[in-house]
Every structure is written in structure tokens, then in C-alpha cells.
């Protein structure tokens, strides 16, 4: 079970719990749709291991792993 969006494995889906980041970055991530309860699926890791591509709310978004680390996931097992 992964703890953050940044540590999801390829193809794994997690549910967003909370964002722990500086105010501006937190707002930006939430504006992009990372709110509590949203499903996030890891689609791809860039050729050099970073950034990552995730799918949420029906669209694909790239972000650096470091940003993904700010987004923690709910811990109950997912289907």
C-alpha cells in the first residue's frame, strides 16, 4: 500500500487523503483536482524516473515525484 501519490507503483490506484504542502503549492494541486476522496492512478514514469504521469478526474497530469510526495493517500485497501 503506497502512502503518497509519489510512491504509487505503475498502474496502481490510490485515494487522496490530504495535501501537506506550502500554501501556494497546496492550492495549485487542489485546483488541479487533488481533493480528498479522489482516485488517482499512476499511468507512467518518465524515462529518467521522474516526473510521473497520473490520471485523475478523467484527465492526465504530469507532476514531479517531489510534488506527489505532498499528497498522502487513504490507507484502507482499495479494489
Amino acid at each position: 500500500m503506497s502512502n503518497t501519490v509519489g510512491s504509487l507503483t505503475l498502474g496502481e490506484t490510490g485515494t487522496v487523503d490530504a495535501i501537506d504542502a506550502p500554501k501556494e503549492l497546496k492550492r495549485r494541486l487542489m485546483d488541479m483536482g487533488f481533493t480528498r476522496g479522489v482516485a488517482v492512478k499512476m499511468i507512467k514514469v518518465a524515462p529518467l524516473g521522474d516526473p510521473i504521469e497520473v490520471e485523475l478526474r478523467g484527465y492526465n497530469l504530469c507532476l514531479r515525484k517531489a510534488e506527489g510526495e505532498h499528497i498522502s493517500l487513504q490507507q484502507e485497501p482499495m479494489k
Partner: protein
Amino acid sequence: MITLALVGNPNCGKTTLFNQLTGTTAYVGNWPGVTVEKKEGIYRGMRILDLPGIYSLSPYSPEEKVARRYILDEQPDLIIDVIDSTNLERSLYLTTQLVELGRPVILALNMTDLLEKNGITIDAKKLSMLFNCPAIQLSASKNQGLENFDEIIHQTLDSRKLPACPLFSNTVEQYITPIIADDYLHNLPQGRPMRWAAIKLIEQDELFLSSMPPIPPSTKKLIDQACAALTVTYDDDPEAVLIDQRYKVAEKIRSACQTSIKKEERFSLDKIATSKYGAIPLFALVMAGVFYFSIQLVGGITTPLIERFFSFVTTHLGAYLSSIGVIPILNGLLVNGIIGGVGSVLTFVPQLFVLFLLLRILEDCGYMARIAFIMDRIMRSIGLSGKSIIPLVIGTGCSVPAIMCSRTIEHQRERELTVIVTPFIPCGAKMPTFALFISFFFPGRWYIAPLIYFLGILSVIITGLVSQKLDRHKETNAFILELPHYQVPTAKNVWLQTKERISGFIHKAGTIILLAAAGIYVLQSFSFTLQPVTPDASILATVGRFLSPIFKPIGFGYWQATVALLTGIAAKESIVSTLTVTLGGAALSTIFTTRSALAFMAFVLLSTPCIAAQSAMYKELGSNKKKFWKAVGYQMGFAYLVAFVIYLVA
């Protein structure tokens, strides 16, 4: 005059719609952040504004601030909320904010043509009912659904109907209501609707607070209570609670209006374009292919043909003019000055046309954002962002749009560094210089041209590494980028955009370069006492000789080279036309050796760009004079140093 504003997420097609409505060819592309400034046009007697894309009304990068400031302060009569139909939920998140602004709204559901392929249907009637405003399904790129667009605008304006603000959960609403009722909000400046202002107060939006009169203690208490209660109830800060509420509304409306059938997973180009082993080789291959095709292949065929044409014209026209008794100075001005100078630049039109065309296709198909994704790791190691690669690729065509699109880079230091290094990438206007020198000094040595590109890239890397060493604060930078859908570029758009750029190049040849070439010819034909003299004793030579000692250590301390570099400040193409004019019929080897030719090319490549690119730099460096002069000084110093080393070693 009625003012309409196009507002929506980045890359949802605002500028495409703008072009379609106004019949213009403003710069578009299939990656988020093409538009960084507002643009105005006229649509059926109404003023229409195209704004940079935003994800929310709380701005993050500078171009988003432009959009927010405009929407709030300039009071458009109507907001056209452009929505990417394939990405409804996130688009509606912005809609929930726009409808609170107290302006009439039209929902323009764009990219309708892509819905079927994605197995989505949208109930526009229901959407229109829920927001109490018109919702129109259209496709801006295909020009569909725009037939009655102006009628709908007029109906909406005439009815004075404001859209409905979606309500949040009862818990949140119970704290908003008393703030709306507070006296403080009844004296709001124009364009600050009460519900929206109340929400901004709870969010503690700094930009908003700074534009408001001081908050009286009683109101302050009310707000603090609301914030404290929300924080406890939702276990998050008030701003986050409200974002969450908006998304909940967006989810609800999306599920009420949209049905989607899960389609089988289709083959995506990303299987190769962003794959682990294929991605970077593919990028290298694509770029090499672009240059090989335009410069080597097309340029290789057309350049000799056009050169032959111009030398035919100049010889015969010159002979004819002297046979009919035109005085030599006029004859020379026309034939050697104007036709020779402008001709040396026009030779490059076909290959630049192909280069612009291919870059255009790259921009339109959706590949640019992928390059940013795969290159971010490398770019970060030299202090840049993955998004910096977009300006660098576009910069191979022209530095001006390239420097402008660095604005979407979130982090200030990465953005400014991108602005400084983008001119190191050889643009189309520098190409004539390289072509002239290579064909004279290094005929048949194909590797010299790619080496120039490598030198440009190497300079970007060195600059990045140096500035990273000098930078003491190690901040965490953000890189958040949406990947657009791939699309087949439409022939019409590719043609219009390419035509725009190539006609800009031809226009420059017919204006700035023509004037410069004619001016140079006159200045090198007369002395200060206005006596006709040999070029060596002319005004131009005297002025050039004054500055040329500067270039002596790097091998080309001749007045002709100095003057060529000076005219290059107006437009880099002038370097070639000036050399052609000042050398008259003489060969390049009269003032250059192989070594100094290499040094000269390096200096042209790396020194400060033309005046248009400089003003773009100034603007993107935040109109900060100190930063600008530092950047220019760095470029000059770096170019001089590299040229010096090359002259020494070569």
C-alpha cells in the same frame, strides 16, 4: 462597445475560438500556455478578448495573474466560459467560480467533435438549466456550432440574466450567509459581488484582501469564527475546504449531465513517445529530422537555385543600367546594395518555410507537452524546468515567441534562466550567416552545421550549471503540466500559422533589411565631407574602425565585420546582407581566415539577440532593468569568451 471575454482552462481552445470568431490568425498550439497575454479582436461589432488560460481564479503563474486581473478589474459585459468537453469536471470547477462574478456567462462546450471518439455524451440543456445560462456545444477548430453565436450573445445580454451560483453543503453555506449579510460587504467596490467576496474573505485570498478597505473588528470576528469552525469540521484549512466544495459541486453536475461509455483502450502514441527506452531517442530523431529535412534537403536544393537567380539579375541589371547611362552610385545602390543585400536573405525563404511548417506541426499535434515531460529530469539537473524545452525548440524558428512562452514556467529562477539561454539556440535569422560561412570556408563538411547547434545546446548547459552553482537558495520547484490529447493538425491552421511567420520574415527583408542594406551602401560610398570615395575611406569604415579593435583578439577586427555585427542588432539577417554589401565583390577570405570564421560564427550564435528578442527578454524578466542588463552583459561576455577560446584553439 460591448466587451466579451474568453475565459477557460489552458489549452481548451480559447485562441482557436478567438481566431474563428474574429477571422485572425493569433498564435495557437496544442499545449497548455500558448497564450500569455490578452488579445483583442472584433466579432460582429463587439470587442472580444482572449485571455491566458487559468485553472482557477487564484492565480499561480504570471500569465494567470493577467487573466484574473482583467476579469475582476475591467468588467467584461459577458464571460464566455470555454470548456474542454472531454475534461468536463475540471472545467466546471472554474465555472463554479466564474458564475459568482455577477456577470452574464455563456458556457461554450468546445471540442465537441472529440466526444464521440471518447465515448462521452453531454446533456447541454441540463447543464444550461443547472447554471441558468446558455450552454452551446461547438467545435472551434472545425468551425461547428458557431452559426448563431452572436444571437445567443445578444439574447443573453438583453435578458440581463445572471447565472446561478451552485450552493455548497449546508455546513459551509451557514457560515457564508452571515458574512454576506454583514454591512462591510454592502460597500463593496464595483465588480465585487457579495457572495464571491464573502467566499474570498473566508479563503483569506491575499490579492483580494489587498484591494479591500480595512476590515472592521465585528466583521473580522465573524470571518474568524467561520474559519475556525470550518477548520474543525473538515479538518483542513478554509481555502482547501472551499476548493473541495467546488469540486464536489462540479462532480455532481458532471455526473448529472455527462454519460460516458468505457471505450476499449485505443492505441496511444504515448506508448512510444513517452516510453522508457524509446522516448529520448525519438525526440533526438524528430529534431534531427526537422533540421535535416528543412536545411540539408530543401535548403540544399533551393539555395543554389535562388543564388543563381540573384546573381543573374544583378549582373544583367547592372550591365543594362550602365548601358543606359545610370550614374554608377545609383546603379550600385540598386544592384549591389538593395538587390544584393535583400537577395542574400531571401535565399533562405524556402528552407525557413519548411522549418516553420515542421515546427508548427510539432506544436499542433500535442508532442510539445510530452517533450517537456520526458526532458524534465535532465533540464532540472541544469537548473531549468521541463517546460524550458518548449522555448528552446520554438527558438530554432524565432526567439521572440520562444522567449514569450517561457512565461508558463512556474518558478521564477527557472523562468529567468530560460529567458537568458533561449537566444543561444540558433534561430532562423542567424541561419544565413552560418550558411554563408560554411559554404565558403567549409564546403562539403556536413558536420559543421550540427556542431553549431551543439555549441548552442552546450552553452545552455554551461549557463545552467554555472547559475546553479551561484544560486544559494535551494528551493523546491513545481512542475505541473497537463498532457493534451494528440490531434492531427488541420491543414488550414498549419498553413495559416506558417504563412504568418514566413511572411513576417519576408516583410522584414523588404523593410528593415532593405533599408539597412541601402543605408550601408550609401555610408560606405561617401566620406564625411560627402565626397564619393572607396569603401575603405568611407564614413562607415571610419565608424567601424573605431569599434573594431574590440574584436581584434577574437580574430575579426575589421570594420566590415564590426558594422555587420552592429546591423545585426536590428535583425540578424542583416549580418549577411551587410557583409555582402561592404565586401562588394571581394571574397570573405579577404577579412576572414578559417579560424576567425569559426570564431565569428560562434560570436553571432551566442551574442545578444536582435532588438525584437531583446525587448521580449526585457518583458519576461519582469521589465526589470537591472536583470535585463545583467542578462545582456552575460550573453555578450559569454559569446566573446567562447569566440576567443575557439579562435585560440581552432
